[in-house]
Amino acid sequence: MSAHAAQQSAGMALADKLKDALRIGLVALLLGIPMLGLTTVDQGGGLQVMTRWPLLAQFVGVVFFGRLILQWLVGHFHLRKLQRQRVAAKTAVVQERPWLKWLGAVALAFAVALPVAFSGNRYVIDIATTVLIYVMLGWGLNVVVGLAGLLDLGYVAFYAVGAYSYGLLSTLFGWGFWETLPVAGGMAALFGLLLGWPTLRLRGDYLAIVTLGFGEIIRIILVNWTDFSGGPNGINSIPRPSFFGLEFKPPGDTPTFASFFHLEYSADHRVVFLYYVILVLALLTHVFVSRLRRLPVGMAWEAVREDELACKALGINVTGVKLSAYAIGAMLGGFAGVFFAARQGFISPESFVFSESATILAIVVLGGRGSQLGVVFAALLLVVLPELGRDFSDYRMLLFGAAMVLIMVWRPGGLVARREPTIQIETAAVQGATP
């Protein structure tokens, strides 16, 4: 709805509201006829058309009344006004919001305490681990998209590079998790440089498509180059990370985690351990990225996002700055990939499809570009939402797509659309002093 239409809707007469709802209902009818009203089913020998008119009628009815209710809400609560204020707040003077810091601290405390609070509940810890992987990926991609403003739709490629680096190095050469971590990160960064060097001077949307293409190329190669990657079957029995050399397995000849600490063996140990590993990795990522942001290179990332030409005029090598953002983002993705491979114990190209990239990008953009805390909320939302919908799993991705659209329309600036200054000085006069 355009702003113009919204202004009108506030004072719309009932007749107009009905007319508007009817129009939307008509559109719903047209959209619904070929998808809900009609369908084709294979009844041996050939397709037969099946009708589902009651379903269509329900859908149109829901849309019609939903629209009416929405109209009423808009008129009643002046939602638009709120939105305008929000837009104003986004561009307003940077203001302190201490509760965000508190929220961050609470989130951290919760994350640390989670395995204790939910001990024995393997499902929750598993999901929390997945959330943290996405948080880490989101923080990595945030460098590229949120800070440097480069649109990357193929981020999953670097995730794949990390995962396959570990998968191959561990199964072929017996490398451990911790040795592989830096190497795989370096590999991913190298890939980032290789891709970024020729393409980073491209305009935003072109860059998006090229990165998407790159992501697909990596995936197709993984699927088809069977000798190298195991093809569609992927790589199996990837060793799990050990706790300073102590394996997580039932007691045997060599000392294991359980025997060393005189615990009773439980498969949950590894789950909890993996959770803490990714928590530490994610926190390290957070510290790393936050510090970088306050360094010259981080400020240059943001400056490049804001105005490339101005950067050039100030003597900043824009390509170099972009490359550094790209390589660092790729490296963090690579780290996350190593963890992913180690956690699953099995990887295949299936895990590195475009919708993965889209999810990570959605986390960054929904979180609020450049906001570290926003990424956490968005990751939580995008991982847990589909999990909640697991019971009606057919509709999982459907709801996911719809949620992406709705949340974006609702908060185009992201959940936390606030930028924290990287450097501040004491100024004698407070804001609002002489113009």
């Binding site: 010259p296 290179v297 400056a303 050039k312 090598n317 824009v318 100024t427």
Partner: protein
């Protein structure tokens, strides 16, 4: 000027397809003086700046910078960012180009990127918080603060640049350019949209920069109050040609300029 000028423009021509935006333009810009480029809209002034600062590559001709440390540099052979970084030629833009959601102070710190990045040793020293980097950062902060104070912006240091008024943004852009430590400062219509008081302050600033700091200043400006008061020499462009060059007095009396650009009343106004 007997000694070598700071910047020499030799037979500069810039064509866009069939359009000749600049035609065989030659000019010498000395250090410590204000040189103004004036001319009607579309005369090629901004194109001239773009050729100078590496945003366009001129079709013919050279722009030579006589750099006190790096010697003779041909600007049109340098990559855009090298013009500012290596040759010390820094510009502002006609339609202000700040980093709008970054604070004023951040804008000025970004301008010192090259120095700071060097000091941070590719971020390593910075990540570890080593003393060398910390000192460089303090110095950069001091430089930014100095210019903010000089331009009366210090109260606004922590405010997002995009939220400030037009006149303030113009000053921020100049302050930001000054943080690069330019030898030659190219200002594209810095007085546009300023009120009389702001434009008087600008006059004073330009004189201060050229006289006290020895900076060469190249100025594109329509506001004759500024041009006539601060310029040491003026170059008049019309349709990409240089039609006159000289001191403000000479330009005001030049029949070509009067015909092409100024108009009788405006001269009186300007000299009044």
């Amino acid at each position: 000027m007997i000694d070598t000028p700071l910047l020499e423009v030799n037979h500069l021509t810039m064509r866009f397809g069939g359009l000749t935006a600049l035609d065989d333009l030659s000019l010498a810009v000395p250090a410590g003086k204000v040189t103004s480029i004036i001319g009607p809209n579309g005369a090629g002034k901004t194109t001239f700046f773009n050729c100078l600062t590496g945003f366009y590559k001129p079709t013919v001709g050279d722009v030579v910078m006589h750099h006190p440390q790096h010697g003779k540099l041909i600007l049109n052979h340098l990559a855009t960012h090298r013009v500012a970084r290596h040759a010390g030629v820094v510009r502002t833009f006609q339609n202000i180009r700040l980093f709008p959601s970054m604070t004023v102070l951040e804008n000025l710190m970004v301008a010192q990127y090259n120095t700071l990045q060097h000091a941070s040793r590719f971020s390593l020293a910075g990540l570890l918080g080593l003393a060398g980097y910390r000192q460089a950062k303090e110095e950069a902060l001091a430089k930014a603060t100095t210019w903010l104070e000089r331009l009366g912006l210090i109260d606004r240091a922590n405010v997002a640049a995009g939220n400030l008024s037009y006149g303030t943004q113009r000053r921020i852009e100049i302050a930001r350019a000054l943080c690069v430590d330019p030898l030659l400062l190219c200002l594209d219509e810095p007085a546009a949209g300023l009120n009389p008081r702001e434009s008087a302050e600008l006059n004073e600033l330009l004189l201060y920069l050229s006289r006290e700091h020895g900076k060469g200043i190249l100025l594109i400006e329509h506001d004759m109050n500024v041009v006539m008061r601060v310029s040491d020499q003026i170059c008049v462009l019309n349709f990409g040609h240089k039609i006159a060059e000289g001191t403000p007095q000479e330009i005001q009396q030049d029949p070509n300029v009067i015909k092409a650009y100024l108009g009788e009343e405006e001269i009186e106004e300007a000299s009044a």
